[in-house]
């Protein structure tokens, strides 16, 4: 079929090595793509909601990850299929943009695809389906805006923020101490938030983990933790009112960039060189001392001699501190990163109320705490946990919670969780469908059905009867005209999510619907899959 004819009727080949490629066209291509997308969604479906299960992933090197986070599962899965890769991308972009709801977006896209497949079998053109979905998603997003509620929070009233973060955390393994973690996340975000501009730079929050202890020991530190210790074992382990010199130059004789050679051909030269060398070290240390620094943090290593001189002059120092950490320290302490000893001035020193070294466990693990900084805009969340996997999973959960808190600061509208928003949208879309003439009407109705799949999966994962529960909640919503009824996953006894305090952010939910629709549209538009055969 890949033959075409030019104007003289001579055949020419469009696809090279035609026989060696497998090709799927038309409805077959659609079906194959849809089933691949559905397969990915099916994997994630059981992870949805507070009673969702985890996945255990074993990497090519044999490391084990246990997680509930959709984006992480998909990223670490060895996915080969192109459409499946699209779904992976979808969850990743939700992760980048919103940070939470990565599982939900894939499940939603999966159910859209499922509905689309049915319509395709009816013989509706894929583009019409795609257009119908597009209209429906607009209706849904507008409807979300209508049912969304604003809520006020301030430094004095953090409760709403904490409640929202708790909703996010409740589906993770850390839900044992979700209250504590949610408080930590909210405080951390508020510490770095710019409430005027309504923006939060999450880079200022460092999440550090150390195996050992228990989850309850996780703490928020207004300052920085560096996984390093003092360069000389006998330097003081505790410095109060530290003035910190932050250096990116090594304590070594300078290495000019231009190539050069120093030739030694006489005894005098040899001796002057030696004196010069000693002077270098002496000068460097003296300069740090002269500007009044009481702690030196350096990106590079020290020579033994310099190390001892520092120790001798009672100037504690930390070496091999990474670039990112160095920047954070600079922000937190209000210091400047100094690239050359000559440029060291007293104004460029950072200030911290307390710097201390803390050791953990029975091994020689030590960490450096820099606290009570001049500028408390950089904070660290320090996670403890029973094992490496718990720590990693907690880091991911905290990241989600931080993102949620940030989104709320950017836009303080919320919708209610537990599937209530989806049900309400589904009702609204269903009602709107009848007003559209043409084939799109079917697509819009299918969209409404697909939205039901999220509460359905929630109910299924919580061990409830999915269809029975959903229809009960739906009729309750319509009867009482109250969009806050959702699935009672935790068996609390009420369906009213307003009472259960289960919130999600409005932008998160909107983004989920928009992104899922976009990907589905993209997949529907493909009608030809050409793949090279294996060999």
């Amino acid at each position: 079929m890949a033959l075409a004819f030019d104007e003289f009727g001579r055949p020419f080949i469009i696809l090279k090595e035609q026989e060696q490629k497998t090709r799927l066209r038309g409805l077959d291509a659609h079906k194959a793509n849809i089933s691949a997308g559905k397969a990915v969604a099916r994997i994630l479906k059981t992870s949805l909601g507070p009673k969702g299960m985890d996945k255990m992933l074993s990497s090519p090197d044999g490391d084990v990850t246990i997680t509930n986070d959709g984006a992480t599962i998909l990223e670490q899965m060895d996915v080969d299929n192109q459409i499946a890769k699209l779904m992976v991308d979808l969850s990743r972009s939700q992760d980048y943009e919103i940070g939470d709801g990565t599982t939900g977006v894939v499940v939603m896209a999966g159910s859209f695809l499922e509905q689309a497949e049915r319509l395709l079998e009816h013989g509706i053109h894929p583009i019409r389906i795609a257009e119908g979905f597009e209209m429906a998603s607009r209706i849904a997003v507008e409807h979300l805006e209508r049912i969304a509620q604003k809520f006020e929070f301030g430094p004095a009233n953090l409760e709403p923020l904490i409640q929202t973060c708790m909703t996010t955390l409740s589906s993770k393994i850390v839900n044992r101490c979700k209250r504590d973690l949610a408080e930590i996340a909210v405080k951390a975000v508020l510490a770095v938030a710019d409430l005027e501009r309504k923006d939060v730079n999450l880079d200022l929050i460092k999440v550090e983990g150390k195996v050992g202890g228990k989850l309850e020991d996780t703490e928020l530190i207004y300052g920085i933790i560096v996984d390093k210790d003092m360069s000389h074992p006998q330097m003081p382990k505790r410095i109060e009112d530290a003035k910190i010199a932050i250096l990116t130059c090594p304590f070594e004789p300078p290495k000019p960039k231009t190539k050069h050679k120093v030739d030694i051909d006489s005894v005098e030269k040899f001796q002057t060189l030696r004196l010069q060398e000693q002077k270098y070290f002496d000068d460097m240390v003296q300069k740090c001392k002269d500007v009044g620094a009481s702690l030196v943090i350096c990106q590079w290593g020290f020579d033994d001699e310099a190390n001892h001189l520092l120790m001798h002059r009672n100037l504690p120092a930390v070496r091999w501190v990474g670039g990112v950490e160095l920047e954070l320290i600079a922000i937190a302490t209000g210091g400047r990163i100094v690239p050359r000893f000559q440029e060291l001035t007293p104004e460029k020193l950072g200030k911290a109320g307390l710097v201390r070294e803390k050791s953990f466990g029975t091994t020689k693990d030590r960490m450096l705490y820099i606290e009570h900084c001049a500028n408390s805009r950089a904070v660290t969340i320090f996670i403890r946990g029973g094992n490496k996997m718990i720590i990693e999973e907690t880091k991911r959960s905290i990241h989600d919670a931080l993102c949620v808190a940030r989104n709320l600061i950017r836009n303080n509208s919320i919708v209610y969780g537990g599937g209530s928003a989806e049900i309400s949208c589904s009702v609204a879309v269903e009602a709107a469908a009848d007003r559209y003439p043409g084939v799109e009407q079917y697509a819009i109705r299918a969209f409404a059905d697909a939205l039901d799949s999220i509460p359905m999966a929630l109910a299924e994962n919580s061990g409830l009867q999915p269809i029975e529960t959903l229809s009960a909640v739906k009729s309750q919503q319509i009867k009482e005209n109250n969009p806050f009824y959702g699935i009672d996953c935790n068996d609390v006894g009420t369906n009213d999510m307003c009472e259960q305090n289960v919130f999600e952010t409005l932008i998160g939910k909107q983004q989920q619907i928009l992104l899922a629709t976009q990907v589905v549209k993209m997949i529907l538009k493909i009608d030809d899959v050409i793949s090279p055969s294996e060999y």
């Binding site: 299960m53 074993s58 060895d78 080969d80 050992g212 290495k255 190539k259 120093v262 094992n387």
Partner: protein, 546 residues
């Protein structure tokens, strides 16, 4: 197991058919296991690991021989759970979780590495039964959580804190050391080693840095000949022609190059045009070294310890000046020496008046077995110390070191957190009783999980008794009856093979260890239970280096 495998294969076959029908989304060798099958795979893996180390539990536990696959096929004989698990090559992801918790337990508290794995294994074994009777894993998890919290509170109530009374505290420490050591190779001489360990830890004065306790292993003699040295022993020889014995030593501890002092300025090189010039430069170099040595001597010392090599020339100079020079002490040795003698580690020698020198009463060469060692005695600060282990073979010594390490870890943690419990299965019985009571009060399906938790706790004393060849069913039943009385102190007395009074027998354990065992085992079990799908990526291809 065989039946399980057969049904596995059957499942697999069905799965393959199913997948072919749908669509392949993974890469070639990646695999996916779902639902019941995934859960079964992780249960089987985790329980296999727990069963593996089960027989090493308790005072009558047996050892394992580990043979490495590396060159030489080195053999380790050990009883330490963490060591056994570390050397296993495991493919099952759930089993890896258990190995990981045992490692963390080792790093964090040092002991209880076997118990934590066994408890997690028992929890999963109980959970498997519950899952088989159609209780949702999430319900089991929430039951386990309640149970773990309740068990912890039960322990907290029964805990004894003698931290304020130093006499009693020391006897507590002795008891803990004895209990820890009794399950190890050192059990024959536990009295001796318990004293060693307690003395060593008391010298640390609350710091948990075990680096400052040096353990030197010298084959020969018997375990009983091991001793704790108040001073410091450096595994080095004294240079020839240098004094073998120094009284009132002033020690300079240094980290500096004493070979050829290289020029650190970048790009420097020596270029000469005649032989005489070479000689001159060489002379200058020598002069430089001589000056350095002079400067060092000017500190007024009679002992010089360097981390790096000392070449013959400076060594000779030191010998001339009557200074004892010791080269190539490793970094830990230097740090410890600095700690013991109170000196600082120096790298420049220009201002002798401000460098802090170390002091000790006597330096002498001593013989342990056939080896000569340098002994520093009468040191100023007593923080660091040395334990010399003697034993029949390397295997015995290695195992003795691990055992002693466990004891030291536990003791140093106890110094910080002085809460103490009784041992011999007593804490498990206390927890099991409380948890059982909670199960009766809790409505709903959770109570099954809580009950299961208490059964898993009981498994630990059962295994201890089984390993000792006792009638576990009878003993545990007796213990349970005993524990229904108020203020009971009964536990298993493995030596006499009956129920005994733990307080009288002096068997104690650190609260911190028990708490860590309880919490991390529950956490690990919870994690494995939550999994309903295992996705394995294709293994990374490696070049065959063999």
């Amino acid at each position: 197991m065989v039946v399980a495998k057969r049904s596995f294969a059957f499942f697999m076959f069905r799965l393959v058919v199913y997948f072919l029908a749908v669509e392949k989304i993974f890469k070639d060798e990646a695999s996916e296991e779902k639902g019941e099958r995934a859960r079964m795979a992780s249960f089987v893996g985790a329980m296999a690991i727990a069963d593996l180390v089960k027989t090493t539990l308790g005072p009558k536990g047996m050892d394992k021989i580990l043979q490495s696959t590396g060159r030489g096929r080195a053999v380790t004989v050990t009883n330490d759970g963490a060591t056994i698990l570390k050397s296993l090559h495991i493919d099952n992801p759930a089993a890896k979780v258990l190995v990981d918790i045992s490692k963390v337990q080792d790093d964090e508290v040092g002991d209880g590495t076997t118990s934590v794995v066994v408890l997690a294994g028992e929890l999963l074994r109980e959970a498997e039964k519950l899952v088989a009777s159609k209780i949702h894993p999430m319900t089991i998890i929430s039951g386990f959580r309640m149970a773990a919290e309740c068990a912890r509170n039960a322990l907290l109530q029964k805990v004894v804190d003698n931290g304020a009374d130093s006499e009693k505290f020391k006897s507590d420490l002795m008891k803990i050391a004895r209990t820890t050591l009794s399950s190890k190779i050192l059990s024959q001489d536990k009295e001796h080693f318990a004293k060693l360990a307690v003395d060593a830890v008391m010298r640390l004065k609350g710091s948990t840095n075990l680096e400052s306790i040096q353990i030197i292993k010298k084959p020969g003699g018997s375990l009983k000949d091991s001793f704790l040295d108040e001073g410091f022993i450096l595994d080095k020889k004294i240079g020839i022609g240098q004094p073998k014995r120094i009284e009132n030593a002033k020690i300079l501890v240094a980290n500096t190059a004493m070979d050829t002092d290289k020029v650190k300025i970048y790009g420097a090189r020596v270029r000469v045009d005649s032989m005489s010039r070479v000689a001159e430069i060489e002379g200058a170099e020598k002069e430089k070294m001589r000056e350095k040595v002079q400067k060092i001597i000017a500190h007024g010392i009679n002992c010089f310890v360097n981390r790096q090599l000392i070449y013959n020339f400076p060594e000779e100079l030191f010998a001339d000046a009557g200074i004892l020079a010791i080269e190539h002490a490793d970094f830990d040795g230097i740090e410890r020496l600095a700690l013991v003698t109170g000196g600082e580690i120096a790298s420049t020698f220009d201002n002798p008046e401000s460098v802090k020198l170390g002091h000790c009463k006597l330096i002498e060469e001593i013989m342990i077995g056939e080896d000569k060692l340098i002994h520093f005695s009468g040191v100023e600060m007593g923080q660091a110390c040395t334990i010399v282990l003697r034993g029949a073979s390397h295997h015995v010594l290695d195992e003795a070191e691990r055992s002693l390490h466990d004891a030291l870890c536990v003791l140093s943690q106890t110094v910080n957190d002085s809460r103490v419990l009784l041992g011999g299965g007593w804490p498990e019985m206390v927890m099991a009783k409380e948890v059982d009571e909670l199960a009766r009060k809790t409505p709903g399906k959770k109570s099954h999980a809580i009950e299961a938790f208490s059964r898993a706790l009981l498994a630990i004393p059962t295994i201890i008794a089984d390993n000792a060849g006792l009638d576990s069913a009878e003993l545990i039943a007796q213990l349970r009856a005993e524990h229904h009385k108020e203020g009971c102190t009964a536990g298993i007395d493995v030596l006499s093979g009956s129920v005994g009074d733990m307080a009288e027998l002096g068997i104690s354990e650190a609260f911190k260890v028990k708490q860590a065992v309880l919490l991390s085992a529950t956490e690990a079990a919870e994690m494995i239970l939550r999994v309903d799908e295992i996705i394995t990526c294709a293994p990374r291809r490696r070049e065959d280096r063999m």
